[in-house]
Amino acid sequence: MTRVAKVSPSRGASLSEVAALHQVSKRFGQTQALDRVSLSVERGELLALLGPNGAGKSTAIRLLSGLRRPDTGTVRLFGQNPQHASARVHLGVTPQETGLPDGLRVGEVVQLVRAHYPDPAGAGELLERFDLANLERRQCGGLSGGQRRRLAVALAFVGNPRLVILDEPTTGLDVEARRALWAAVKYYQTQGGTALLTTHYLEEAEALASRVVVINGGRIRAEGTVAEIKARVGLRQVRFQASAVPQIEGVSRLERNNGSFVLYTPNSDAVVRQLVEEQVNFSDLEVKAVSLEEAFVALTAE
């Protein structure tokens, strides 16, 4: 039997790496937006960057799309510096803020963007995919907020990209439009595409992501599958009045204010069961889901 030698790719970059940050720091004035962050996007995956506002998600995304330069560290997109136009031929981006040329028609905007790529998607097919087909002749200035956002996301797919970067793609969309957009992103992934997206919504990561990276305060705090991350940040709040509370398992954080308690936990059922078993004399019991923002605050405000 011969042993196959394990070949390690040069310079630490795996062969399937599509885009990466290596030890990247970025500071804006007094704010350290990113602090020695390393992150790699692998071919075929759907990576979600999760974190509260101001965590550094958008800075990471802007660096990878070539919109900003790192203070230190290196940024790679298809092995090149994303600031070079040629590196971005296989990239599609939806920035966080939607901007469209108001005086141009939807179809004209798609044609303008198509002109930049060697092998663009068909305009009609693309508009169909994002439910914009009947709006082709409408001027962008006359679109609703949701329609504008859908078009901004569709534009990321115009060049038949190998990687799409979507910065909070579904912000401002209603539930139905959000689900339709998720379906479009999933379809793209089944066709071999790679996606990097940021989101505030755990639900969105759950629907789409194959891997999640949690970022806060400019650093990577956690990384794993959606289930793993959910166990860490998918918290519930258990509120009640009581005179005292014994040691309870599975509580990530306990807040106490005179006689009222707030317990943060991934498993509220188990916590309530323990409260009953321990015969805690509680009143006004309330259990509610915690937003991602609150969960981060609860987990990081130690």
């Binding site: 900003r68 939806t94 939607t98 303008l112 901004a152």
Partner: protein
């Protein structure tokens, strides 16, 4: 080339759908000419010189607004951020507004020439036409750069008033509305130091068939360096703030 032409086409379409932009730049120079210049333009030579002045005024308006107001509003637009993620080199992006400005300047000039030929005895020799084009371009370059200074240094809200504050006094003091010798005395002292006056000098020589002097071109080259340096500084400052 293809993306650059696509941007040019998009620019033209967008501006043509904004009558508030193109009507003033098409109509103002001709309207001013008919109000202020045509009644006094009874001789072919005087009429032709005035036509030259108002051509400068027309081109000035297009470049100040295209580069001043256009760049300032681009800087504030989220669309501009998206455009930066497209695989388009920055220099290719700059070519489209230059072509757009040339197109609008040519249209504004054509309207003015037709109006002047119909309403006054202004007539240009074929040789004058040939010299007129480079003379107009020689001044268009430094004033487009002045427009870029406004575009990169003024906020989008301030850009329109600032552009007007430069465009209108520069036109008057440069002797474009009334010939320099009829300007109020104190303005006559300032006039030679304005880029518009030097631009006018280059154009007037072309129109009346006199030999070009080096002086206006030296002045225009100096203004090109000055405004170019400020525009470049403003460009780097803006790029550093938004994309550094």
């Amino acid at each position: 080339m293809k993306p650059m032409l696509a941007h040019y086409k998009a620019n033209l379409l967008e501006l043509l759908r904004l009558p508030a932009y193109w009507i003033p730049s098409m109509v103002f120079p001709t309207m001013f000419f008919l109000f202020f210049a045509a009644p006094n333009a009874n001789h072919p030579e005087a009429a032709s010189l005035l036509l030259g002045s108002y051509l400068v005024f027309a081109v000035l308006g297009v470049v100040m607004f295209q580069f001043g107001v256009g760049i300032a509003s681009d800087r504030a637009s989220a669309w501009n951020i998206f455009e930066r993620t497209l695989p388009l080199p920055p220099l290719a992006k700059l070519a489209a507004p230059i072509l757009t400005a040339l197109t609008f300047a040519a249209m504004a000039g054509a309207v003015l020439v037709i109006a002047a030929y119909l309403s006054t005895p202004a007539r240009l020799e074929p040789g004058a036409w040939i010299r007129l084009i480079p003379a107009l371009l020689a001044g268009a370059v430094p004033l487009a750069l002045l427009g870029l200074c406004v575009g990169y240094l003024a906020s989008p809200k301030a850009a329109v008033p600032v552009a007007n504050l430069l465009y209108l006094p520069l036109s008057f003091a440069g002797g474009l509305w009334v010939p320099p010798q009829f300007l109020p005395e104190f303005v006559q002292h300032i006039s030679p130091f304005t880029p518009t006056r030097q631009w006018g000098e280059a154009v007037w020589s072309a129109v009346n068939g006199t030999t070009w002097q080096a002086e206006p071109f030296i002045w225009l080259a100096g203004f090109t360096l000055l405004f170019g340096a400020i525009a470049l500084w403003g460009y780097h400052r803006d790029q550093g703030q938004r994309f550094g």
